[in-house]
Structure formats: structure tokens, C-alpha cells
Symmetry: C2
């Protein structure tokens, strides 16, 4: 059978038949563009007629080293004859010739790689006779100029630069800024110059014969598949070299052919808000590129209804028809050529996050798509957009134009913030509270001492630290926009200013930071907050809740966080980090007292004062989470975290010693000496607590086993709080979680403490406390011995931050500014395992631990509370592992809800798909 190399746009059914009704194969055969044009043709949309030479013809041409298949010429001639009949025009006609374009079109879009030749069918003779025949000379000459230039560069490999040089010269002559404004006279000069250039470079003129033009252009497009640029692009995009490109030959239509012509773009629904009406721009008597270039002021599509009401009607109808056909909002290019409306292209339109949500919900509500499809149309990132203030796009552009951009750091906590620079936490707090100023806390790095300042600030900026630095974690936890590790910034605490390059910015000056992008600007940039209460988002998240299998809980340490989490849809607290409760101004001194305690009595005295505070903390949480489970993790961090930084203490001591050598009076000596002694005492304790690898040191359950007073106080506070809120009619569901377990003995030790305390409370209050007891799984050994742990633990919560660090043997804080960057750049690692869960290593541990744990305890409740709990790709992995819930920071709850729904849909689909052969 003779292969069919050419398909007319109206032959889609034939192609579909040849491809066994596989649309993917049709796109392979005709290319994406060809298939799309044929598809629109079948729908009865007015597409300029044409035909497609298949990608198989391209492959045949390339395989034979440049020989066109023998039947191709005949099939092309036949298609051309049909085209002439269809359009009523003849190729080569002197007065009103058929003009065609010749465009590549591969299966997958390769923007900028496409070779195109327009206006095929012109030559000097025809141009002359057309002008003579009354056509607009400027229009005809410009079209001819373009043909020569494209044919030269695409087909004959002439460099483009000399053509551009000629055009620049021409614009100077005419004193205009764009090529489309050139006068007919100058265009004639340009054409002569172009033709001479062609002959000089190649020894050949533009072939005057339209048929020759067409077949040479076709071959050039075929060859372009193996051009350097195209090959590189395919390699980077993982597009197979074997696909080849199709070629589309299409009748030219012109939006610039007269007063009754126009060209424009339209979307079937608002790309900004998603509102269900068409929007767009057009220009009368213009070409498509003029609309894009923005040289002339465009008209909105509403104006079209007035100047060309009939065409407007048609356009609206076609837009709706295409939207229904493709089940999504369409971005359409159209041209009106002498009153006739042509649709040149349609594709799914780009849209804002708000529009994406509304369009998905509206389409589902209208019945155009299912709710499942609506859920998959909105990315988790788009949902996240609703949660953080953003720079107003115009205001940001203005700032960029005005040169107030300063630097970019790590975008660790999303959202934009504007405020006065405060260089220490106390000042930030006082400006915020006393002067009601918006403040941005700027520090080299932050420490627990700084938390009150971070809470008072609207944003945080540091010059050092990584994605798990204290600043990043706390900012994310409390939803403060933050940029950290902006290493170009020098924070000069002595002079109370920051320096970025040559720019000096004083404390109290205003800056703007964008935690979503990491950008920092001098001065204020307007921000706006998208609306989390958006009705369409609410609806979409409700649908998500119906679909997802995973529970979505939140990490929250304070009642207001818990309330926010519930508002955003959380149905439990998966992680309450009790240590964060100790960083408050009121508690830190007591905590430091405990750490500095010389003996158990002093330690107990401090704990006694902490007990009522902790009880209040927990009672607040239980009230906010009435009826929902609250997992409270016992004290986790190493004790030195509650003391000042060692280096700062050492510097202070050195300074005091130097000052002592210079002291003048005895009084001065005595004061300095006393101060030095005090600093030395704290420094000694810090030194004693110092560890070579604190990550692998004395913290978590290890502290609790060594000094059981602390967990005993915490568990008492939890149980007493349960009893307290019980009297208020609140249902508290506490779970006690042990951090950093690696040996079953740790768990049984703490379980006994909890059981004893429950008995004590039973005696004291006459109340039977209903609680669950479980463990973090954050050491590899905990995961490996999950079967043992599940004998004692009623639940597991994977702490994937630490688990990832220990499984890889990588300290995140050290690595993210160091070799991890190189690993990601060189491809040694495909993704940062601290952002997206490592499926093979850490994921393997999780899978096995869940399986082994449930084997021992079938109702074992399992979740994840590391940062991965809010990451969509990681949520998909833990969904596969069979976890019961994910727990993330409150502001990521909506993101997790949609991600969990999408994961559920994906899993349902893959379980339905037949297994691969």
C-alpha cells in the first residue's frame, strides 16, 4: 500500500482511523499543531484551509539522507489542487494569488525551535501585478520582504544579521521605530537590498516559482529537526529524536489587508478572575505581532462587538464551542481578513491562581468536567497562593524599573512584607508594640532569644542560615514571610545599618521582602492578600475532602495556630513542639534556670514554676481543638539551645578581659570582674553541654530518660489540662509523643512514666485520663525496629527532617549552602531530599516501618509531621505508603488537602489501569 504522506485539514477522521483512534498517535503523525488545526476544522471552526505533511515523511527524508519519498510530490500536488479549489485562488496567480505558510509542527511543542516560512507564493512579477491591480502597495511589499528574509534564513541558511542591519537602516531613513511602519518606497529599497544579499551569499536568487518555494521550504523544515538548537532542546526536554516533525501548509490570511481587517487574541474566560466571559485584545488592520509588541494601543474585545458585531458574535460562539470541546478555558488567536473571521490557533489558556480555581469549579458546576478533573486542574502551588500576601505586580515592576532591587536570598517562608528595618528583637518588639509600626527583623541569623522579635515583626530577613535554620523554621511555623541566607547583605550591628554592595541602609529605613521569591527591595512595594475565603476555593477544598484518603492535620504549638489550622481545615494536631512554649519572654528565664541548675532540687524548683504555664498552654490547645486529637511531643532540643550562643559568650568574655587590662579604677575592675565571672559561669555550662555532633547528641527521649523530672512535669501538665477543660465541657484527646526514639527501652521507660502519672491523676482528680502513647520515627533504627516499637507505641509519626538527615548522613544546615547545591546542579541528586521525600531511601524505611508496625498492631495510627507533610510530591509518596494522615504548618493545610485529593485520584487511577505488559 502506498503510504499516505499528506493529510488535508478536513481528513482528521482518516488520520484517526489510521491511528486506531489513538489521539496520541494522531498527534505523533500530524504534529500537535496539525492535529489541532484538523480538529478545529472537523468542529466546523473557520480555520484557513490547508494540509499537513506527516512527521513520517520527515523521518523518511532524514533517514535517506535527504531524499523526499517518491509519492510525496504527487500527494502534495493533489492537496494543493484541493486547496486552490477550496480557496478559489491559484498559486502563482498574478492578481489575487493563493499565498501559503509553511510551518513545522512536532508532536510536542518546541517554542522558538519552530522554523516557519510565510507568504510563499509571491515573486517580483506577482508583487508588481498585485500592486498594479490595486492592492495596498505597502502591505504587499512588506509581505514580500518577509518572504525573502524567512526563505533566506530558513531555507538558504543566510545569516539574519545583515537583513536586520538593512532594516535598521530603513527605519532610520523613514524615521520610524517598527518595521510595519516602513513606507512603500523604503520597502522597495529593502527588497532590492535583500535580493542582492541572497544572491551574494548563496549565488542563488529567491526561486520565483511558488511550487519550488514550497518544496524547498518543506525540506528546510524537515532538516531543521536535526538542527543544533532543536537537538539541544529535545535533549533537555527528554523528547525522543525519533519523532520527527510534521509540516503544515496553510492558506495565508491577513489582518492587515485593509480597513475591514483585524487581528487579536481572546480567552474564553477571564484569565485574571476566571469570570465566565470572553476577554481579549485586538487591533484593526494589523498583524498578530503588532498586538503582542504593544506598539499600538490595543482595543479590548468588548469594542469588537461594536465595530464588528457579527464577527464578535461568531468569535464568542467559537470560543464557547472550543472550550466545551477541550473541556478547558481556551486562549484563541484570530484574524479578520477583509471581514472574514478566521481562527488561527487555540490552546488551553494560562491563568492566575484565582482564575484557575474559579474556572475549575465553574466548569465542574456547569457539568463540563467532573469534580475529579476540577481537582486535578488546580495545582497545590495555586492553592498556596491564596494564603500569602503578594507584591502587586505593577508596583513590583515599577520598583524594578526604578532600580530599588537589592538582592535575593533563600525563599523560606512565602508571602511579601513591608516594614522598617529593626536590627534586634527588642527593638522590633518595641517599635511594633509602642509605635505600631510594621517592622522587618533583620539579623545575621536568629536564635531562640529572638523569637519575640520575630513574632512582633511582619517579616524576617537574615544574611546567613539555610532552609532549616532557626529563622526559617520559626518564620514558617508562624507564617512570617522570610528571606534567609541573603549573603550579599552585611549586617553591621555596630553602626546599626545593613550594607548591600554600595548601598547603605540604616535601621528604621523601610524595605520590602518577598518570601515567595526571596527578593529584597529598598522602600515599600504595595502588597495585596488573595482571599482564603474565596467561595470557589472553599468549594474545591470541600470536594478535595470528599476524595482524599489521607487526614490532614497541623503542626501547632499555640492556641491561635491551632485555631487557624482548624479554620483552614485541619482535623487534628500532629505535632505540638512543647519546646517552642519555652521560648516566650516569660518562660525562657525559668528554662535557663533549669538548665543552669546545680542540682536536682534547683531543677525541680524551676519545673514547678513551669508546670502551671504548661498546663495553661495545653488547656488552650485542647479548647481550640475540642474533640480533635492533639499529639504533644515531649521536650526535644538539646539543652544548650536555651542558653546564649557560645561564640557570643566567648567574645563577650574576651572583650571583658581586654577591658580589664585597661580598667582605670578599682571599682571598674570589680564590676568588670564580677561580670566576667557571671559570663564565665554560663560559658562553662554551655561548654559542658557542647557536643561535636549535636544532631546526634543528647536530646529528645535521651534527655527524658536521663532526667525524668522534665517529662513527668510535662505529662502532669497535659493530664491536668485535660481535667481542667473537661470541667468546661471540652473533649480533649491528648496523645503523648516521644521524640528521637532509637531503642525500645526508651519507649517503655517513658510509657511507665505516663502510666504512673495517669494513676496519680486518677487518685488526685478521680478522673480516668484517656490518652494515646506513641513515638516519632526519626532515627533509621526506629524505622528498622518498628515491629518492636509498635508493641508499646499506639501511633507512629515520621519526623522526616531528621530521618532524612540520618539516612543520608547529611546535616541539612551544613549541606544546603555547601555540597548539596553542587549535587543538585550536577545532577548527582535529582531533587533536594529535604524538600521532596526521598522515595527510595527514606521512603523505603517508611514503607517497611508501616508494614512491620501494622503487622504487630493492626490499628497502629501512622502519620508524618516533618516538613514534607506539606509538600505535594511527598504527600503522594506517603499516601502510597498507607499513612493515615499528614501534619503540616497551618498555612499549608489547604495545600495538603488538595495534594492529598490529587494523590488519591492518581492512586485510584493507577489501581484501575491494567498492569504493564
Amino acid at each position: 500500500m502506498v503510504p499516505k504522506w499528506v493529510y488535508r485539514f478536513d481528513e482528521l477522521d482518516v488520520a484517526t482511523g489510521h491511528c486506531a483512534n489513538d489521539w496520541d498517535e494522531v498527534r505523533g503523525l500530524l504534529g500537535g499543531k496539525g492535529a489541532n488545526l484538523a480538529d478545529m476544522t472537523r468542529l466546523g471552526i473557520p480555520v484557513p484551509p490547508g494540509f499537513t505533511i506527516t512527521s513520517r515523511a520527515c523521518n523518511a527524508y532524514l533517514d535517506t539522507g535527504g531524499g523526499l519519498p517518491p509519492e510525496l510530490s504527487g500527494q502534495t500536488s493533489k492537496a494543493l489542487a484541493w486547496l486552490e479549489e477550496e480557496t478559489g485562488k491559484q498559486l502563482g496567480d498574478a492578481v489575487d494569488p493563493l499565498l501559503v505558510s509553511c510551518r513545522s509542527g512536532a508532536k510536542f511543542s518546541m517554542p522558538g525551535m519552530m522554523d516557519t516560512v510565510l507568504n510563499i507564493g509571491l515573486n517580483s512579477e506577482i508583487v508588481d501585478s498585485m500592486i498594479t491591480g490595486g492592492k495596498d502597495a505597502r502591505f504587499i511589499l512588506d509581505s514580500y520582504r518577509r518572504l525573502i528574509q524567512m526563505f533566506g534564513t530558513v531555507v538558504l541558511d543566510v545569516p539574519d544579521e545583515p537583513f536586520q542591519e538593512t532594516l535598521r537602516e530603513a527605519r532610520r531613513k523613514d524615521n520610524v521605530t517598527s518595521d510595519s511602519e516602513l513606507s512603500a518606497g523604503v520597502l522597495s529599497y529593502v527588497i532590492d537590498s535583500f535580493m542582492a544579499r541572497l544572491e551574494d551569499t548563496t549565488g542563488r536568487p529567491l526561486p520565483p516559482d511558488p511550487q519550488t518555494q514550497l518544496s524547498m521550504a518543506t525540506e528546510a523544515v524537515f532538516r531543521s529537526w536535526n538542527g543544533r538548537r532543536a537537538k539541544d532542546y529535545r535533549k533537555a526536554s527528554h523528547i525522543p529524536d525519533s519523532l520527527g516533525t510534521a509540516v503544515n501548509i496553510q492558506t495565508m490570511v491577513f489582518g492587515n489587508s485593509g480597513a475591514n481587517s483585524a487581528t487579536g487574541v481572546a480567552v474564553s474566560r477571564s484569565a485574571t478572575t476566571g469570570a465566565p466571559h470572553i476577554e481579549g485584545d485586538f487591533l484593526m488592520n494589523a498583524q498578530g505581532e503588532d498586538v503582542v509588541a504593544g506598539i499600538r494601543e490595543t482595543n479590548t474585545i468588548d469594542d469588537l462587538s461594536e465595530v464588528m458585531p457579527e464577527q464578535y458574535e461568531d468569535l464568542t460562539r467559537y470560543a464557547r464551542q472550543l472550550e466545551l470541546h477541550y473541556s478547558d478555558m481556551q486562549d484563541i488567536e484570530f484574524t479578520i481578513d477583509d471581514g472574514e473571521l478566521w481562527i488561527l490557533q487555540t490552546r488551553n489558556g494560562k491563568r492566575t491562581a484565582q482564575a484557575a480555581v474559579r474556572i475549575a469549579v465553574d466548569l465542574a458546576s456547569e457539568g463540563t468536567i467532573t469534580r475529579d478533573i476540577a481537582l486535578e486542574r488546580v495545582s497545590p502551588e495555586q492553592v498556596e497562593f491564596f494564603l500569602h500576601p503578594q507584591f502587586d505586580a505593577d508596583a513590583k515592576q515599577l520598583a524594578l524599573d526604578e532600580g530599588t532591587y537589592l538582592t535575593t536570598g533563600l525563599n523560606v517562608s512565602p508571602g511579601a512584607a513591608v516594614g522598617l528595618i529593626a536590627l534586634d528583637a527588642d527593638l522590633a518588639e518595641s517599635w511594633a508594640q509602642d509605635r505600631h509600626e510594621s517592622v522587618i527583623l533583620v539579623r545575621p541569623e536568629t536564635k531562640p532569644d529572638d523569637v519575640h522579635g520575630m513574632l512582633a515583626a511582619v517579616g524576617v530577613l537574615t544574611s546567613s542560615g539555610g532552609r532549616t535554620s532557626h529563622a526559617a523554621l520559626v518564620a514558617r511555623q508562624f507564617g512570617r514571610p522570610a528571606v534567609v541566607g541573603a549573603s550579599e547583605i552585611q549586617v553591621d550591628l555596630g553602626e546599626r545599618r545593613i550594607v548591600v554592595g554600595r548601598t547603605v541602609i540604616n535601621e528604621g529605613d523601610r524595605i520590602s521582602i518577598d518570601g515567595t521569591t526571596g527578593e529584597v527591595f529598598l522602600g515599600a512595594i504595595d502588597t495585596k492578600v488573595p482571599d482564603i475565603d474565596d467561595v470557589w476555593l472553599m468549594k474545591l477544598l470541600e470536594w478535595a475532602d470528599e476524595v482524599r484518603r489521607l487526614g490532614v492535620w497541623a503542626n501547632a504549638d499555640h492556641p491561635h495556630d491551632a485555631e487557624l489550622a482548624v479554620k483552614l481545615g485541619a482535623t487534628g494536631i500532629g505535632l505540638c513542639r512543647t519546646e517552642h512554649m519555652f521560648f516566650g519572654t516569660e518562660r525562657l528565664p525559668i528554662m535557663q534556670e533549669m538548665v543552669m541548675a546545680a542540682n536536682a532540687d534547683e531543677r525541680r524548683s524551676a519545673l514547678t514554676r513551669l508546670l502551671p504555664l504548661q498546663r495553661r498552654d495545653f488547656a488552650g490547645l485542647f479548647r481550640a481543638m475540642d474533640g480533635y486529637e492533639v499529639i504533644i511531643r515531649l521536650l526535644d532540643p538539646p539543652l544548650h539551645e536555651f542558653l546564649p550562643n557560645r561564640d557570643r559568650l566567648a567574645d563577650e568574655l574576651t572583650d571583658l578581659k581586654i577591658r580589664l587590662t585597661k580598667a582605670g579604677t578599682l571599682d571598674e575592675v570589680n564590676t568588670l570582674f564580677a561580670k566576667a565571672e557571671e559570663v564565665e559561669k554560663v560559658l562553662e555550662r554551655v561548654e559542658a553541654l557542647r557536643e561535636s555532633n549535636p544532631m546526634l547528641g543528647l536530646r529528645g527521649v535521651r534527655l527524658a530518660v536521663l532526667s525524668p523530672e522534665m517529662p513527668r512535669m510535662q505529662i502532669r501538665a497535659i493530664f491536668e489540662a485535660v481535667s481542667l477543660v473537661h470541667e468546661e465541657g471540652i473533649v480533649a484527646k491528648p496523645s503523648i509523643m516521644v521524640p528521637l526514639t532509637s531503642v525500645i527501652g526508651e519507649l517503655t521507660t517513658l510509657e511507665a512514666v505516663a502510666r504512673d502519672m495517669a494513676a496519680t491523676i486518677r487518685d488526685e482528680k478521680g478522673m480516668e485520663i484517656d490518652y494515646r502513647f506513641g513515638t516519632m520515627i526519626e532515627t533509621p533504627r526506629a524505622a528498622l525496629t518498628a515491629a518492636q516499637l509498635a508493641e508499646t507505641a499506639e501511633f507512629f509519626s515520621f519526623g522526616t527532617n531528621d530521618l532524612t538527615q540520618m539516612t543520608f548522613g547529611i546535616s541539612r544546615d551544613d549541606a544546603e549552602h555547601s555540597f548539596l547545591l553542587d549535587y543538585l546542579a550536577s545532577g548527582v541528586l535529582e531533587a533536594n531530599p529535604f524538600n521532596t521525600l526521598d522515595r527510595e531511601g527514606v521512603g523505603g524505611l517508611i514503607r517497611n516501618a508501616v508494614e512491620a508496625g501494622r503487622h504487630v498492631r493492626p490499628d497502629l495510627h501512622v502519620g508524618i509531621c516533618g516538613e514534607h507533610g506539606g509538600d505535594p510530591a511527598s504527600i503522594a509518596i506517603v499516601d502510597e505508603c498507607g499513612l493515615d494522615y499528614v501534619s503540616c504548618s497551618p498555612l499549608r493545610v489547604p495545600v495538603a488537602r488538595i495534594a492529598a485529593a490529587q494523590s488519591a485520584l492518581r492512586l485510584a487511577r493507577s489501581s484501575q489501569e491494567p498492569a504493564a505488559m
Copy 2:
């Protein structure tokens, strides 16, 4: 059928029949002691006749709450009648009565828990008539005194203290120091006093009827099974409560009954040297406890051949007979009662390490035991004993008596050493080299700079650091005895002295350290070195090599280590740590230059100078290991390890700054300023390299991926060395090992470097380098992704030090002085996982990695090179996991050989045993 509650010693065959020939069940029935006595009786050994009341009778008694089985009385009477016939004496006879002992005897020995009543059968009347009949009054009265005392405390629950008080008073009266020296007169007084005491406390006298004495004693022994002490002991020893104890009624014999009597102990072979002749001690006319108490000077067993040649002959014959019967050296208690030799007990004898080896080898050579059994008779610790000098036992006791003991630290590298204290490495080196003194390097901790001093020293002592501190690792590596972390020692570098409590010891004073025990003494203690060339040990190790499946390789970084390893039986190098090659005086400056390099050129310049040195290093190793595989690990440690300690630099800088403020002249200022600048530059680099968790930081393959110049230099040095020694006829078998892999991309990157270098050498030298490429498995992720790694790696070597740290999330250096001690003390951990491989967690990773790796690459070669490679319990675990070899420090090679053999025997046995039902 009437149960048989009583077995005569000559009824062993009956018991064996009842127990279906199961010796274990016989021991359960008759108790260990009863079974042993019966066994000796069957052999025709002269055991004082008697019978055993079974443990079943005990259980029946206890089950019924204190009722003796009805048939027991009849069976006991029958056995007594037989005993009277056998001995020709009557219980209750006035002149020469039968006296018996009544002893408990459970299945498992419970030393100190045994209740015993001796001399049953005496009463006042009998005692009087015996004395009247001419028996030695002192002897008879003493026997009677003992009966009353034991009967009182054991049967009637009278406290022992008043009896002791009376004895103290009696000794004062007679002015003697031991009870056996009391005069007849005073003994009469003691007896009256004891009898009064009995009546006062219990209202009952000693029952005069011998039958009653016997049955009451039997019941008391039964009851003692449920005494508090016995129960606690069983709980601690995991002995089931249900076993019950048997009771042995045995004729009394007396070594103190006259001039023709004696008592003593003998071993069938020398317990000190293992030489095959009996050794022992005896006393004429004495009791067993007199021999033990050491009050009278004992005679050696050789003397017995002169004073009682016949009995000596018999004893020698019986010793040989028992040794053959029990297939092991016997420790025998004997008594000669009026010329008649009785064997009271025999058991396998304790022995020194040397004796253990010689006895096992001799017994196997004689055909008494198999070689396999000989291998299992010698513990790995006994083999280790041969490798290190030890304190002479007498000299150490003398030192303890003289109070020169100072403190005990961690026993990290075994062996004893004596030398002058040197407080820095340079001094240690100069004293050793110039003054030919034995030196002990004493430091707060050691650093790479100190290695030349450690090598010059005979021992190392530090006041801080754990089992993997630099000092511990290097000392073990080079076989220097070392005690580290002796925290009671203050090293005062300023005053050049150390202080321990109130004792001040100056540099240059002599101390003795024992790395086997961790003890430190002031002054010199004589040491002696057991002999590794011991012919019996050599023989035993040869047998071990025939049995074991695991290869035994060594960790060695220098040719002399490699030579020692080969001498000790290693057949490969499993780990050459190339970084140790850079700590030499010659190389460290070049290495520091590389680390301080401002740019790649400077770095390359340093590497160029290191290349010939490395080539020489490797060539030396290849020569030492001709024909054996040598696994060379690429540079592993973080770069800061090659620079001075940060704190020391900071202190130095502070000091310089303070001195600057006091500087008098401009010259002085300039000098100090220049010095401060220099220190500051190094400090800056150290700060830049500083990491919060260096264990999880930039080291190992991560360094190699970031700066491939370094591995390229090392691999070039390896290949050039192969080519160099090839010309000398040496067969080098190099393997390149990548440290700290966690991602396959790291391995492929380095594999490409090696392949490229092999091609370069092929071009340069025309030689095809035959090498293997593999990886350490020391991160959990490497183990979890073993299948991926095995695609590229030809071998795995488990680095279980790091793997354990990361799997547990425990930094060994931090933990071993901290919570790990508490964990071990409280039983949260059963064993220190850094000493003995954690079977469940780390072992699970190893098992899975081996399986997954071999699935991909069936000939994957797998070993272990962590410290566990030399630990017998860990060797057993990795043998189960199917590893090919273990690699340990050279001096542990013999230990590993025996441990591997024992593991192979155990595995063979367990694979033959039928599966549990």
C-alpha cells in the same frame, strides 16, 4: 506406679533409663551435684557413698505446701539401710556412727545459695561415747559444734550472728585466730552456749535422733529453694523457678581425723602453662577450708607422692580417668580419711589463656577431643591475651598494696606500658629518639599533629575523648596501649604536670598504664609479653583457618602494619585509610597548604607534591601484600582535621591581642601583629570549614565530587604504584573504595574518574591496570539502596562505626561519656552497639544490603572494616549475614581467625539441628 523419689549414687543407669538417656534430664532430676557424684560412682571413682532425693520430690513438697510425698520416707529408709551396709556403720551408733551430710543440688549451680548441713548423726550422747571410745576430742567436738550451728541456721532459722559472736569470744579465750584451732575445752563451752541459744530462740533443742535430724534437714533444703536469696538469684540468672532442687545425702569423710588423713585440690594439667601433669596443694590432717583459707602453708601435690605414694598414684590415675571421661582438664577436691582416698568433687578447671590454648591443642592431638571442640574451648579473649604485654600479676598487686593506683579511664587499646610522662608530641619524640627513653604521651586529647609523638611513645593517655576519639583510633591502629577519657586527670600544660585528685605528677615522672583494663598507676609496674609464636596457638589458629568460612583481612595504612598483619594471618587489606598517610611530619604541611589554598592552582601544586609520596606509600603496601588484595579508601575526613584546633587558635589569638595591649616597643607590636594576622588567617579558614555536625558534613565522597583533583591524584598514585611494583615482579591487586556514599550518582562520578585514569595510565605506561571499584556502606541510605549501588560497585565494605552512629542517631564521641553509660547501666541498652554490632537495626541493614546487592551482582564481594570486624560477637553476626570477610586491626587478626572459626562451627551445628517444633 509408685514414683521413685530416691536414687542411690550407684543407680545412675536407672536414672538415665527413666530420663530416656537424656543427660540434661538426668541433671534436672538429680541436680548437677547429684548427677556428678553418681557419674563418678559409675566410673568406679571412690566417692563417699550416698543417695539423692530428687528435685521432683522437692517440687512435690513445695506444691503441696510442705507435705513430703508419702512414699519418700520408706524410700529414704531403704537407701539409708543400704548406706549403713555399704559403709559398715550405723546411724546413731555410739562408738563409730555413720555421719552424713545433707546438701542441696539444683540443675544449675547457684553458688552461695546452697543450703548444707554437715555431720548429721551426732548428738551429745554419741559425742561423749566417741570421745570416751578414744576419738580425738577436739575433732569430735568441732564436728558437733558445726552440726548445731548449721542445723540452727539452716533448719531452725536461727540468725547466725549470735553463733559468730560466741565463736569470736571463744577465739579470744584461746587466743587463736581461726575456729579450727580452738581447744577442746573451749569447744565444749561453745557447744553448751550454742545449745542454749537454740533452745532460747526456738524453744526446741537440736533433735538428738539422727533420723529426725536428717528428715528435718531435707525439708529445710527443699524450703530453701523458695528463699528470698535463691529466688533473686534465679531471676537474675534466668533459671526457671519450676526446676526445684535435689538433696544429696552423703557419708561424711574427714581429712582432719588424724595423722593418716589429708585434704587437697588437684588439677589434671597445669592451670598456668597447660603442661600435661597434675598439679595441686594439700594439707595433712586438715579440712578443705584450711587449704583455701591459706592459714597453714600447703604442700604441693608432688610431696604427696613421697608421704602417701599409694594415694598419690590413685589420685593421678583418677585425675586422668576423669579428664578422659569429661574430655577436659579437671579440678578435683579430694580427702584422705585415715589412709583412704576419697574424691569429693570434680569439675572443669579454670586456667590461664596460655594453658587454655595448650590444653585444647594437646587434648585434640591426643585424640581426647576433636579439633572442632578444641577450637570452641579457647575464647577469642584468650587468644587476644597473647598479643599484648600485661602487668605482672604480683607486681600489680604490690602496686595496689602500695597505693600507687591513680585512676581508671576507657580501655581503648589493650596492653600495658610504662614510661616517662611527656606532655607534647615533640618532646615525646625527642626523649624517645635522643634519650632512648620509653615515653607515655599524655594529652588532654590528641590531634593529627600529635601522631608522630604517639608513634614515638610506648603508650598514650588522654583526659578526654571516647572510644572513637582520635587518640583511641590511632592507638589501636598502631597497637599502642592507650587509656583515654581519664577525666579525673587534669593535664596542666602551663605548669607541665598532671594532677589526679591530690596527687601532682610532673612531666618526666614515670607512670604505668594498662590499656586492657584502663588503669593508671604512678611509677613502674613490671610487664611481661605472652608469646604470639606460641606453638600451640599457631596450631590452633591453623585449625581455625581450616574451619572458618569468613576471610580475615586487616586494616592497615603503612607497610609495617601490612607486614605484621600478614604475619598474624591476614590475607588482604580491607581498609587502607589514605588520610593517615598525610599526618606524617613530612606531609602534613603540604596537606595544610592544600587546605589553605586560595585557588585551584595552589591546590593542584600541593597535590603535585603529594603524588610521589602517595605513590611510594602504595608501592610499599603492594610489596608487603604481594598477591593479596589491597582496598584503598579515598580521602575521607573533613578538611578541617588537617588544620590546628579552632579553640586553640582562638585562644592563641586572644592571647596575642592581650599581649598587644601591653606591648612596649614598636618592634614588639609589629611582631605580635604579624603573628596575630597569620593566626587569624588560619582561624578564618577553620571557621569557614566549621560545621554544626561534621559527622554529617562535607567529607568522604562529597569532597571528592566537589574537588575531583584530590581523588584523581590518589587514583593516579595507586595506578602508578601498581605499574612500579609490577616491574619488580610484585603482583598488586588494588581496589578503590569510595567512602560515605549515599547516592548512586556519587559512585558513578568517581567510577568515571577511575576509568579515565586507567585509560591515561594505559596510554602513558602501556599497562592495563586490573583494579576493582567499590564503596563503603556507612550511611543507612547506602544500605537501603544497595541494589542501585551494586550496579556500579564490585564490592561493598560496611563501615559499621558510622553506620551505627547514623542508624541510632548517636554520635559516639559525645554519647560514650554521656547518656550511653546511663543506658547501659539502666538496661535501656543491653550492649554498647559500638562494641558489639546491633543485630536488629544495623544488622538488619547489613543483611538486606547483602541480599539486594548480590541479587544484582551475584559475585559482589562483601566485607566489614569497622571496628566490629575484630569483635567476636559481631563476627558471628556478619558471618550469618553471609559476608565474605572481616577486616580488623592487625593485632586483632588472630582473634578474628578464632572467632570466625567458632562462628562457622556454630552455624554448621545450627543448620544440622532439627527445626524447633
